[in-house]
């Protein structure tokens, strides 16, 4: 298949378009990669944050659960110790209760008798209306309740059923009250500036009185988030609290988006809610985003600069290579052309060149454009004899000598070697104008060479006549004339083919 020849411009344009496409692709790819990186980072940070929140909530919920379980154990042991003590008066009982309270570092450690009379270290009181767990006549199992004391102070009340007799009275329960502030201290974060937590009752009231960030504060969490999340999410959030489930909630108050994580505290009816101050996560997001964007911007700029530089260098290199290639091609063409039209032995134009010139001149002759044209036919005398007697090397030297003679004399003509011992000289311009003198000079030189034994060349010549239709017409006439001259020179003693053949026959 023969394709269209590619130009330098086409190559350069293709290279430029290719470079631009590569650049655009690289930049687009980098941009996409940066977007992906940011998105992935956001997801990762979000996931880590959620995980972090869940982990914090879970740990703290377990801390409370452990506290409760430990206290239940302590209560069992304390009751066992009191049961073993010899208590004979109310003072003895108060002293024993005081020791246990001190040992357990509790807000209140108390025993309850069958008449709902509560015995503490300093007081004995009828507590039927005061302690919800005494609402039932008997306490069947461990009970956990939240005591809302007047003045908004709150305690966690843990009660266990007991079956001991002290001073002849049957005791039915033991309970402790743990100040929620003590629990809050236990759960406090090191970084209280940015991390918040609060304990909530089933209905969303803050029972720890700790601020859950500035926006929710100590308000009822349902009231604070109502209207800031979809109704479905809000209802689901409430259901989770009601059913002691864990979860997360993302809501918007003002323009700030917050995520909280809530974890039920086993058996208490509480939900522990943890929130990292939104600005901390946002700052982290922002920092990562900015770093990522800055890196990508630098990367893109670097790529642009690199691609531009590369394109420029590539363009000039292609251009230079193309130019060099073209010049080389031109040179080669010239050499090939020269080789095709030059006689390798003599360095003058060869038969092929003559034929090209003949074709061109024929065209001009037909068109009437040719003028002042003379053709000289030259034939070397005695070449065969030299070849046969002195070898081809000597023959070649003879040809070269003949060519030198012809070229020197017809210095204003175009010399062609058209055969082994034949040359044609075309005269035009000055060569034409001086033809007669030059031909005479040539003949005189040849005639002198006969006597000197130097090269002898017979020539015949003619000029363009109006009747000539082609160059060959001139050649024919000149050739005839050359043979006549050859005879003439023979008569003068010059070697000719015939002469040589005669000599060989003798």
């Amino acid at each position: 298949m023969k394709g269209k020849k590619l130009s330098e411009k086409a190559v350069a344009v293709t290279a430029a378009i290719g470079s631009v496409l590569i650049m655009v692709t690289v930049i687009a790819n980098t941009y996409w990669a940066s977007k992906q990186a940011i998105s992935s980072t956001n997801e990762a940070v979000s996931a880590v944050s959620a995980f972090y929140l869940e982990s914090m909530a879970d740990r703290r919920a377990k801390t409370i659960t452990n506290l409760i379980n430990n206290n239940f154990d302590y209560m069992e042991k304390a009751v066992s110790v009191i049961d073993d003590e010899k208590i004979e008066s109310q003072e003895d009982l108060r002293a024993a209760i005081g020791r246990m309270k001190s040992l357990l570092s509790l807000n209140r450690f108390a025993l309850v008798d069958e008449d709902d009379i509560v015995y503490t270290q300093y007081t004995t009181y009828t507590g039927g209306s005061r302690h919800p767990f005494l609402a039932k006549k008997t306490l069947d199992d461990k009970m956990i309740s939240t005591v809302f004391r007047y003045g908004s102070s709150k305690d966690l009340c843990l009660a266990i059923p007991i079956d001991i007799k002290i001073m002849g009275k049957q005791f039915k329960a033991c309970f402790v009250q743990i100040d929620i502030n003590d629990i809050v201290d236990l759960l406090a974060f090191d970084d209280q500036e940015s991390t918040h937590f609060a304990l909530y009752s089933e209905n969303g009231s803050n029972i720890s009185e700790t601020e859950l960030g500035q926006l929710i504060g100590t308000k009822n969490i349902f009231d604070a988030t109502s209207g800031n999340v979809s109704e479905d999410k809000w209802n689901s959030f409430r259901d989770d609290f009601a059913n002691a489930k864990r979860g997360t909630l993302t809501f918007t108050i003002g323009d700030v988006v917050d995520t909280i994580c809530y974890e039920p505290v086993a058996d208490t009816g509480w939900e522990l809610v943890v929130m990292i101050r939104e600005s901390v996560i946002e700052d982290q997001f922002q920092e990562i985003r900015e770093k990522s964007l800055a890196t990508n911007r630098r990367q893109i700029l670097f790529l642009l600069a690199l691609a531009s530089m590369f394109s420029t260098v590539l363009y000039y290199m292609i251009r230079r290579v193309a130019k060099e290639k073209l010049e080389e091609e031109k040179e080669n063409s010239k050499v090939f052309k020269s080789m095709a039209n030059t006689d390798s032995m003599t360095g003058v134009r060869n038969k092929h060149a003559y034929m090209e010139t003949e074709a061109q001149l024929n065209s001009w002759i037909r068109e009437g454009a040719a003028d002042k044209l003379a053709l000289v036919v030259c034939d070397i005398n005695g070449l065969k004899y030299v070849n046969d007697t002195q070898g081809h090397a000597a023959g070649d030297e003879l040809i070269k000598d003949a060519c030198s003679l012809i070229c020197n004399v017809f210095s204003h003509g175009s010399v062609y070697r058209t055969g082994g011992d034949e040359f044609v000289v075309l005269l035009s311009g000055k060569g034409y104008d001086t033809r007669d003198e030059v031909i005479a000079d040539f003949n005189r030189q040849v005639e002198e060479n006969i006597g000197n034994g130097d090269v002898v060349v017979s020539i015949g010549y003619t000029t363009l006549q109006p009747s000539d239709e082609q160059l060959h017409d001139l050649f024919e006439r000149a050739d005839h004339m050359m043979y006549d001259r050859k005879k003439e020179l023979k008569s003068m003693g010059a070697r000719t083919r015939e002469f040589d053949e005669d000599k060989q026959q003798q």
């Binding site: 007081t123 009828t126 039927g128 908004s152 209905n203 009231s205 009822n220």
Partner: protein, 355 residues
């Protein structure tokens, strides 16, 4: 931390304001309805012991009150606060704080006689029945016991008890609540009165105040006066009966803590439009107030009653008598609160509005 400081500062302001209120009025003024921002002044939770230096390092008291009921639990919290503050000063106070499940002067008499035999520095009584208990108190004084009265009901005026700490204006409380009701009803209509225990001075005094107030308005009529014996269930039954007997009852005056709860339940159940005014800070009653079923409640500062009772008891135990150190009657305030005050009141008293 700053939240705690704010809280303390806020409560300090409450104390200061409460003292001003207590010092300038004997109860409240019917002309000046408390506004929502005053709710925190109704009950004063921040107390400090006065400058009195107790003579002993250890005291043992006995207190008995009318009935096991949340109202007296609030008094108990005030007492415990004072006990802890004395303890911080190195003074150990132990005490018993006892009551029957149902108000009864017989039960109270029995408890007092038993207490006489105990080793108590002071015996405190919330008089269940002025007429029946006052002689017992005199008897105890004569026997060398130091006896004081506290919380809602004092003994008879001529009783030998040493001092009284509590509400000294029960009659006025009843009158003021009723005045608010009359105004609400446009000074016309039938009214039912619910009282607590027969003979309980605070209940009887409030009922008297209510009766006298209604008597001032010719278009108003008392159709029934019933005693619920400090039982919510009985208050409910009595109200149901009153509404059946008099379907056109326009309002109820409730003179104790159980009355308004039982009455509100009945009014709600029957769909009556009757206006309810009542006493005290029962959580359910506050919910009814919040929901507009109860029109207003007279809330006594039980916490302060408890705190001051213990302070006065220490002084009495040291042999002091009313005078420069403490008055014969240490008055505690009552504030009428309305619907808009219910939510903050629930928050203050019970910590959880929705509970």
């Amino acid at each position: 931390m700053s939240e705690k400081m704010n809280n303390i500062f806020r409560k300090f302001l409450i104390v200061a304001f409460s003292l001003v209120i207590a010092g300038t009025s004997s109860g409240y003024s019917a002309e000046a309805e408390p506004e929502a921002e005053d709710t925190e002044n109704v009950v004063d939770f921040e107390h400090s012991l006065d400058d009195y230096v107790p003579a002993k390092k250890k005291y043992n008291f006995y207190f008995t009150y009318k009935i096991v009921h949340p109202w007296w639990d609030a008094v108990a919290l005030g007492m415990e606060d004072a006990q802890k503050k004395y303890l911080d000063k190195g003074i150990v106070i132990t005490y018993e704080y006892m009551a029957p499940d149902a108000a009864s002067y017989e039960d109270q008499t029995k408890r007092l006689l038993q207490a006489m035999e105990g080793d108590y520095d002071v015996i405190g009584v919330d008089v269940a029945d002025e007429e029946k208990i006052s002689p017992i108190l005199d008897q105890m004084i004569d026997a060398g016991n130091k006896v004081m009265t506290f919380s809602s009901s004092d003994a008879a005026p001529d009783c030998k008890r040493i001092a009284y700490v509590g509400n000294t204006h029960n009659y006025q409380d009843g009158a003021d609540l009723t005045e608010a009701l009359c105004e609400k009803l446009g000074y016309k209509g039938k009214v039912g009165i619910l009282v607590g225990s027969h003979g309980a001075p605070c209940h009887e005094d409030r009922a008297e105040g209510a009766k006298d107030t209604i008597a001032k308005y010719k278009n108003m009529e008392i159709v029934a006066v019933e005693y619920d014996q400090d039982s919510i269930d009985l208050a409910y039954d009595l109200t149901m009966q009153m509404l059946k007997d008099n379907p056109d009852i326009a309002g109820f005056v409730c003179c104790n803590m159980s009355n308004p709860v039982g009455t509100a339940r009945a009014v709600t159940e029957l769909g009556s439009k009757a206006v309810i005014v009542g006493m005290d800070h029962d959580q359910e009653a506050l919910h009814y107030l919040r929901d507009g079923i109860i029109y207003c409640l007279g809330v006594q500062d039980c916490y302060s009653i408890g705190f001051d009772t213990l302070q006065v008891a220490v002084k009495i135990a040291d042999g002091n008598l009313p005078g420069a150190l403490f008055p014969d009657k240490t008055d505690e305030s009552t504030t009428i609160i309305y619907q808009e005050d219910a939510a903050p009141m629930l928050e203050i008293l019970y910590g959880d509005v929705s509970q």
